[in-house]
């Protein structure tokens, strides 16, 4: 039968692990955002070589499962002589993978700004960097914010895969609880609950952000 004791005792451990899950996902989102700015600029660049490079990046990271990317970083980097701790391998994988998705989100955001605005800015003598900073980025940010929060939800769920390289995030901790208590059902129900609460809170946040930014 369902053991309430195991379930309840597991919750504090899993909450601690949730800090790792949220931390790794957030690091992945932030680092991925900056990588994505580079990838997105490459994809929108006038140079054909840069566009091809950006396209190849997105093609690879969206075409290969994240689990395989994780194995690549984890096994191949030591092979070529770079020793990385599992945590670094995990955060880099999550960042590189999320960058490909965020790059596409940003590209959509930038492309949906009417080109007339850029022409108008140039007409008024606004330098290109100021056009980017004052006209393009604020609007692209508003347009893409809900998608970015949604990407965070996806990352929280995808971060369960890094349990494979032994990092004590929620899924790994649940595995440990299951192994020590012989009660996998309770452990994984508790882990599912934690993920559900985190993702639910983020979805509510996304709705709130969307509603607020529509009037801004």
């Amino acid at each position: 039968m369902f053991s309430m004791t195991v379930f309840v005792q597991g919750i504090p451990l899993l909450l601690q692990a949730a800090v790792a899950t949220i931390g790794i996902s957030l690091a992945g989102l932030v680092i991925g955002f900056f990588v994505a700015i580079g990838v997105c600029s490459a994809r929108l660049s006038p140079s054909r070589a840069w566009r091809a490079a950006g396209g190849a990046y997105v093609f690879f990271f969206r075409g290969v499962p994240m689990l395989v990317q994780l194995l690549l970083v984890y096994y191949l980097l030591p092979f070529v002589g770079i020793n990385v701790p599992p945590l670094v391998a995990a955060i880099s994988t999550v960042s590189l993978c999320s960058a490909s998705y965020i790059a596409e989100i940003l590209r959509g955001g930038f492309l949906s700004i009417p080109p007339g605005q850029i022409e108008a800015a140039r007409m008024l003598g606004l330098p290109p960097l100021d056009t980017l900073r004052r006209i393009l980025v604020p609007q692209a940010f508003r347009l893409t914010l809900p998608s970015l929060v949604n990407e965070m939800v996806l990352l929280i769920k995808a971060s369960s895969l890094i349990s494979v390289v032994g990092i004590a995030e929620v899924t790994r901790t649940a595995q440990n609880i299951a192994a020590s208590t012989y009660r996998p059902l309770e452990a994984y129900v508790a882990a599912g609950l934690i993920y559900f609460v985190i993702c639910g809170a983020l979805s509510l946040l996304a709705h709130a952000a969307e509603a607020r930014l529509q009037y801004a």
Binding site: P65, L67, L185, A187, G192, Y195, G200
Partner: protein, 220 residues
């Protein structure tokens, strides 16, 4: 550092082929199961009352708000606690189908909502019954509207099959990482793995684009 040795791949082609077949099989079975359950959910949401809808809503939110890996662990390792002991392959297909069904159900639901209400009013003005409206107006239009979303979900599911390797389903990732661990030829096996998935996803997207163009050809 050892030499790059393609023989690791060429000598194990039959095992890799079997893994690829398992990947394709679990993917297709999972998609079919997911589409069937998802469609049933969307239909029930259309017809049933508030309580059934609330239960279905909870089902969808639960499956969309938790990682696939945790669902799979719950099914495969937690299942025996409530008398459900499954083979890895069965658990994998069932897990993939249940996970996919929540997303498919949402796609179907949004498709039903996107059918113009004027069409339904026109149909009922013409004296069509509720069932006739569903079968002749709502379902055909809904299917056409959601083709892109469904294609996208099917491609996402093809990548999720890699997760099944963690519960020892002998699919592509499981086979190739197994060969890698046995021979220490991680570079060769992981590269082969990437190439396989890139090809799979690329072919699936091309097929998806073709299906989209064909199924929506009469839309203006």
């Amino acid at each position: 550092m050892q030499q790059f040795d393609p023989a690791v791949i060429t000598h194990n082609l039959s095992a890799i082929g079997a893994g690829l077949a398992t990947t394709l099989g679990t993917w297709i079975a999972g998609v079919v199961l997911g589409l069937a359950i998802g469609f049933a959910i969307a239909l029930l949401q259309l017809f049933c009352g508030r309580w059934v809808r609330a239960v279905l809503r909870a089902y969808i939110e639960l499956f969309r708000g938790t990682p696939f890996l945790v669902q799979l662990f719950l099914l495969y390792y937690g299942g025996p606690s409530f008398g459900l002991t499954l083979e890895p392959l069965t658990a994998g297909i069932l897990g993939l189908g249940l996970y996919g069904s929540a997303y498919f159900a949402e796609a179907f639901r949004s498709g039903f909502r996107a059918v113009p209400p004027g069409h339904l009013e026109a149909a009922s003005c013409l004296g069509m019954s509720r069932w006739q409206i569903v079968l002749r107006i709502q379902i055909p239009q809904m299917f056409v509207l959601i083709v892109p979303a469904i294609v996208n979900l099917i491609i996402v599911l093809s990548k999720e099959t890699a997760v099944l390797s963690i519960v020892t389903v002998p699919e592509l990732t499981f086979v190739l990482t197994g060969i890698g661990s046995a021979t220490f030829a991680f570079v060769e096996t992981l590269l082969a793995l990437c190439v396989c998935y890139l090809l799979l996803v690329e072919l699936a997207s091309r097929a998806g684009l073709w299906a989209e163009a064909r199924l929506t050809r009469f839309l203006v």
